[in-house]
Each structure stands twice: as C-alpha cells, then as structure tokens.
C-alpha cells in the first residue's frame, strides 16, 4: 500500500506477538481526516490487540504506527491527549461523580478555560443524548447510559480542532451495551464528528452497523487482514462464510446505499 502523507494515522506492516505466538501480523491501514474506518472480525481475531497497539497501551513488535506523520511512540502523552481520544470497552469508574463532571474530564488536556469547557460539555451531552443525566451520579447509570457518557467524554476531548495535528478518535465496541435506537444514534453522532475533519477508527461487532456507517471496513481473521475496502467490496457471502463461519446472504439495504447481511 502506498504511504499517504496526509493520513492521520498510518499503520505499516503492524504485528504483535506474545510468547512467540503472533496475535497480529502484517496489518497496514491508513485513516484520513473525515474518514470512518470500522474494524470487524470474530472473537479472538486480533481486534483488541490492534486497539491496544493504536492506543499505545502495548508497543508493536513489528512495523510502525505513524500519527500525524510522526511515530506514535515519539508523541508526549500530553500533546497526544489534545489530538487523540480513546474510548475503551468498559470503564472502571466507581466513585460518585456527577455525569457532567465525568464529561468535563474530557477537557482536562486543554487550557480553554472553564466557561468554554462547560459550553462544550453541554454541546457533547446534547449530541450523545445524555443531557437529562447530567445531575445523575455515574455509578447509578445503566451500562448503556455509561457508554453514552463515556462517548460524550471522549468527544469533549477532541471537540475543537487544534493546531498540533489532525484529530483522531478510537472507539472499542462503543455500541456493545446499547439498545438499537441508541446504537444508531451513537454511530450518527460519531459520523457527525467525523464530518468535522476527524479521523475515526471503530471496532464493531455488528456487520450491518459497520456496513451502514463506515466509509471503509477492515476484516481481521486469525490475526491477519482478511479483507479491506468499502462495504460493497468487503461484505460478501464468501467472506462471511470464511471468517465468521456463517452461511449468510447479502442483499442491498432497501433504504440506504449499503449491503445488508441476512443470516
């Protein structure tokens, strides 16, 4: 793959092994500003490994990751926090913060002043449909509500463009605890942020959700890239048979211009 210097994040031949067993190998992917890329694959395909490498939690054993043209490991944590937000699968917050306090923490890396920060908090809470929860204590929320609050927090972190680089949003299964309407609402919120020149990489389980909202898809299977491209290119019965071991039919979505998997 050609290295595009404009890519916000560029992985080249990325690999990771644990105890000599490769968990991930040969992953090359670029995500541009304004683009939403979904990573799909069955359990144990290496999605979480990829996410840990991208979020800097683990260091890759092969290949490299460039973020805004600079090697990811060379970014100081503080600078990184202003241009990149990461939403992990689950959060262990158990202290009784108010929801709006949790969202406000997303503004921690910035020095934009309290007034501005509170304004941003209101905007992202509206975007994530959690305004009505603002005076609730975080530990009292349901799993789905917590997930939306965490999204609001990471959106607050990258809400405004900054001069030091193009923004990136990493999401690890952000819809896992959401009901259907909130799954769609969350992906729509993510797409809106994406449209504001943010690069988005999201791990999702639901093929149809990925096909409908992502600009491009990458399929991981046994630690390797099984397919990569637009939804039409990637979501094929053969791929689903080979990767997910499921006999499925793919048809055109009646309302949207994307494939629909029926299993």
């Amino acid at each position: 793959m050609e290295v595009n210097s404009a890519a916000v994040i560029a992985m080249e031949n990325l690999g990771y092994s644990m105890a000599k067993k490769p968990l991930l190998s040969g992953v090359s992917l670029e995500v541009n500003a304004g683009e939403c890329v979904a990573v799909i694959g069955p359990n144990g395909a290496g999605k979480s490994t990829l996410f840990r490498l991208l979020s800097g939690e683990w260091n890759s054993s092969e290949g490299n990751i460039k973020f805004n043209g600079r090697s990811l490991v060379d970014w100081p944590v503080e600078d990184l926090a202003r241009v990149r937000a990461v939403m992990p699968q689950s959060s262990s917050l158990s202290f009784p913060f108010y929801v709006e306090e949790v969202v406000l923490m997303g503004r921690m890396p910035h020095n934009t002043g309290r007034e501005q920060d509170l304004k941003i908090v209101q905007e992202v809470m509206a975007q994530c449909d959690v305004q009505h929860l603002s005076r609730r204590l975080y530990p009292s929320l349901s799993g789905g509500e917590r997930q939306r609050v965490q999204l609001a927090r990471v959106l607050a972190q990258i809400w405004q463009p900054v001069e030091t680089g193009k923004r990136l949003l990493l999401l690890d299964e952000p819809t896992s605890a959401l009901d259907l309407s909130h799954q769609i609402a969350l992906m729509q919120a993510v797409k809106q942020v994406c449209a504001a020149d943010v690069a988005v990489l999201v791990i999702v389980h639901d093929l149809n959700l990925a096909a409908r909202f992502a600009d491009r898809l990458m399929v991981l299977h046994q630690g390797k890239v099984a397919a990569q491209g637009t939804a039409e290119q990637v979501v094929q019965p053969e791929m689903i048979k080979q990767v997910f071991q499921v006999q499925a039919r793919v048809m055109k979505h009646p309302d949207y211009d994307c494939p629909l998997v029926v299993s």
Partner: protein, 341 residues
C-alpha cells in the same frame, strides 16, 4: 453547580479546626478562660502568669502537633484511596503505617531515640522508607490495569500488619536496655510527649503534602476513570504514582515516627468529605486535611480529659470510633451499595 459548595465547606472546616484547637488548649487539669487564653496567645510576653507556661510549653505544641498529624493522615488517606481507586485503602489498614512503624523501630533500636531531635533524620527517614516500601508492595499486588482487587489489597494489609507487629516484638526482645526503654516510650507515645521540636519535625512534611495537592489533584481525578483512561487524558501515570507514594509515605512516616500509629483517620475522614462534596480531589484533598486536623484535635482532647488524670492512647480512641465505621462500610459493600468493586 457541582456537589454542594466545596468552598463553603472548606471555610466551615477551617473555622471548626480553629475552634477545636482553642477549646482543646483551654481545657485540661487547669481550665483556662477564653479571655485569658486569647490574651496569653496574642501577648506572650506581657505576663508571666501560670497560664503562659501551660499554654506555650504544654498545650499549644500538643494541639499544633495533633493538627499537623491529623491533616497528614487524612490527606494521605485521601491520596492513597485515589491512587488505589478504592475508598477502603487506608494507610493503617493496608500496612503503610505498620511499615513506617517497623522502620522507626529499627532506627530506634539501632541507635536512634524516640526524641526526634536526638535521632536526627534516622527515625523519620526509616519510617518513610518502611511506609513507601509497603505502599509499593501492596500496589504491585493489588492493582492491575483492570482495577483494584479489594480482597488482595486488604489481605495483603492483614499479612503485612501481622508481619510488622512480629518485627516490632522481635526488636523489643533483642533490644538493649536503654534502647528498649526508648522503643517502649515511642510505642506508647501518643501526643503526651509533644514538644515544639516534634512540631518542627512534622510540620514541614504536612506543608509539603498540602502543596502537593496542586500537583496531583487533576491526575487523581483522571485516574479514577482508569489507568489507561488517565494516560489518554495526558496524565503521566507513573510520575503521578511516584509523587503520591512519596508524599503519603513521607506524611504518614513522619507522623508515625512522632506519635506512633494512629489508625482509621485516613479512612473515615475522606469518606465523610466525599459524602458531603463528592470525590473531586481538588476539594476532597484540602477538605480532608482540615477535617482530619479538627477530628484528631478533638480525639486527643477526649483522650487526655476523659479518664483524667489517666490518659488514653489516642490510637485506642480512633480505633474504637473507626473500626465500627470500617465494618459498616464493608457491610454496605456487600449489599452493593458502596462504590468500589
């Protein structure tokens, strides 16, 4: 707009601390009327009455020592709980105070003295080393990227506390005569051997811990979200951890070296503050310091006046109040009503 008026609470707690301090100075075998007390305090040279001696040589250093020790213990408790992301992580329960006590005991037996000024840096330094080692050990054992295992943390504390009391008993057995007397003095030593020298030893570390609030409050808030979440918010977690461990071990260690182990202050005080104004460390930390100071001041007053002329060790008093409170917290946790997993 957030949890009820933290600034107001801090003002109230500061006033409470001053009132408790003044009341404690005026009470005792000799009761000093408030007017006389204020005169003695504001014009120390004007009269050479009996009150002068009682206030300046005996009660004031004692009250100031309770204030700096109380503030240190409560502040350290709040910081350590933030680091462990758990409200049950009290320095005395997880063995930090015990580790500090062993450090201090080693220093005393090997040549220090319970009088800090004679022991130079040895006793408080060794107490710091003991406290810091235990904090790091328990952290290693109990905290993983997935969160804190409360069971591991508390069980490690049980084992460490058993080990530290065994160490101290051993030291008491092998110590030579003079050293043994020093050790026993220190072990029993509550605030009844307060002196300005001790205040001068402890106070700088209390001030240091208070100043560290500015450095760690943001990071500790972020850390409550989780370790990697804090990192993604731009917090250098390793540095933060190091600062918290050093600060709390210094504050706890020096307090233990000065007055022995006083338990439960670091558990009860931050919990009460969190109920009042929430877990935001920006306010939790200073408010805990103030309430800890006021509480220990009152506890010490009770310890020395309750069974007059006998004096209760203050550790007995804080344990009698704190242990049931701890059991209450544990029972809440069992019913899933208390935060912390």
């Amino acid at each position: 707009m957030f949890h009820a008026h933290p600034k107001l609470l801090i003002a109230i707690l500061a006033a409470l601390m001053v009132v408790a301090g003044l009341y404690s100075i005026s009470s005792g075998t000799v009761n000093i009327p408030l007017a006389d007390l204020l005169r003695v305090l504001t014009q120390p040279d004007s009269s050479s009455g009996a009150y002068d001696l009682v206030v300046w040589k005996i009660r004031l250093p004692r009250v100031v020592l309770t204030i700096v020790v109380g503030a240190s213990l409560a502040l350290s408790g709040a910081m350590v709980q933030g680091l462990f992301r758990n409200p049950l992580a009290d320095p005395s329960l997880i063995g930090v105070s015990g580790g500090a006590a062993v450090g201090a005991a080693v220093a005393i037996v090997l040549g220090g003295s319970w009088q800090l000024v004679e022991a130079s840096w040895a006793v408080p330094f060794m107490a710091f080393v003991g406290g810091a080692s235990v904090t790091l050990l328990v952290y290693r054992l109990g905290v993983s990227p997935m969160g804190t295992s409360v069971a591991t943390m508390l069980l490690a504390g049980v084992a460490i506390n058993a080990m530290t009391s065994a160490c101290i008993s051993y030291l008491a057995t092998v110590a030579e005569d003079v050293r043994l007397r020093n050790l026993v003095f220190w072990l029993m030593g509550s605030f009844n051997v307060s002196s300005w020298q001790k205040v001068v030893w402890v106070a700088p570390f209390t001030v240091f811990a208070l100043l560290m609030i500015f450095k760690v409050w943001k990071g500790l808030n972020a850390l409550l979200l989780g370790e990697s979440e804090a990192r993604h918010l731009g917090i250098e977690v390793e540095k933060l951890r190091l600062w918290v461990v050093i600060t709390s071990a210094l504050a706890v260690g020096v307090s233990v070296a000065a007055v022995g182990v006083v338990g439960f202050v670091g558990l009860v005080v931050p919990h009460v503050i969190r109920l009042l104004i929430g877990p935001d460390h920006r306010w939790l930390l200073p408010a805990s310091a103030l309430l800890g100071a006021a509480l220990l001041c009152v506890a010490d007053l009770a310890a020395r006046t309750w069974l007059e002329p006998k004096e209760l060790p203050i550790g007995v008093l804080t344990a009698v109040l704190g242990a049931p409170f701890f059991l209450f917290l544990v029972s809440q946790r069992r019913r899933g009503q208390l935060y912390g997993s």
